[in-house]
């Protein structure tokens, strides 16, 4: 419960409060956002996240296959294999 409240606090500080402030803010005449910057920055941030997750997930799979292959010198039989229960 405390961690959920903490999560909402973090989200509120990072996202919700700035969004509400912006939504109710007066428009400054002559000061406009640059949609090119916003849209391309979003794209690049999402690409960084996507490639990072891809690298971590595929790296984990490669490591698992390498570490737990039968021919690995460090490989040990599972307790089920030792007991002949499989």
């Amino acid at each position: 419960m405390r961690s959920i409240i903490g999560l909402f606090l973090v989200l509120a500080v990072l996202i919700i409060i700035p969004s509400i402030e912006y939504a109710f803010a007066q428009d400054e005449p002559g000061e406009y956002i640059d949609r090119r910057v916003l849209i391309w920055n979003l794209f690049f941030r999402m690409m960084v996240v996507a490639f990072t997750i891809g690298a971590v997930v595929s790296g984990t799979i490669v490591w698992l296959c390498w570490r737990f292959r039968e021919s690995n010198p460090k490989a040990e039989p599972t307790k089920y294999e030792i007991a002949g229960e499989w």
């Binding site: 989200l11 996202i15 969004s19 912006y22 939504a23 428009d27 005449p29 002559g30 406009y32 956002i33 640059d34 949609r35 090119r36 916003l38 849209i39 391309w40 920055n41 979003l42 941030r45 999402m46 996240v49 997750i53």
Partner: protein
């Protein structure tokens, strides 16, 4: 946390689930926020009516001035496009300013932008609309602020 039924600890799985949920929330919140910022049209934006038809673009300014195949605007000002079509579905695109909006018959879609750099920029239809779709082009002329 120890799962006695499975006989092993399951905390890595909870961490994994937490990380996945956190990432999904973050991605959704970022995208939602950018979309909200991009769609918030400034109050002082000048309205330009954009009409697509096979196979050219017509623009009508607030003062009634019409342009065909070319559009003149000023840098530093905001413009709100009201996009529609007279025949089939087109899509109004100014690639260099990341402006893209479908032109649908009987419907007015809006998109806004504020050009910053003076120059000439291509306008292109981005929805296949018939034989000469490829050449349904125009030119955006951004002029220095007067």
């Amino acid at each position: 946390m120890v799962d006695t039924l499975a006989g092993h600890s399951s905390w890595p799985e909870w961490i994994y689930i937490g990380v996945v949920i956190a990432l999904l929330v973050w991605v959704g919140a970022e995208a939602w926020n950018v979309e909200r910022l991009v769609e918030h049209t400034p109050a002082d934006a000048e309205v330009i009516k954009v009409t697509g038809q096979q196979w050219f673009w017509t623009f009508e300014h607030e003062d009634g001035t019409k342009e065909v195949g070319e559009l003149h605007v000023e840098a530093g000002k905001a413009y709100k496009f009201e996009v529609t079509s007279k025949d089939v579905i087109h899509s109004f695109n100014i690639h260099d300013y990341v402006v893209l909006m479908d032109a649908v018959p009987g419907r007015i879609n809006t998109v806004w932008f504020a050009p910053t750099d003076a120059g000439e920029f291509p306008i292109q239809c981005r929805e296949y609309c018939g034989l000469i779709h490829y050449n349904m082009r125009g030119t955006l002329y951004v002029e220095e602020a007067s």
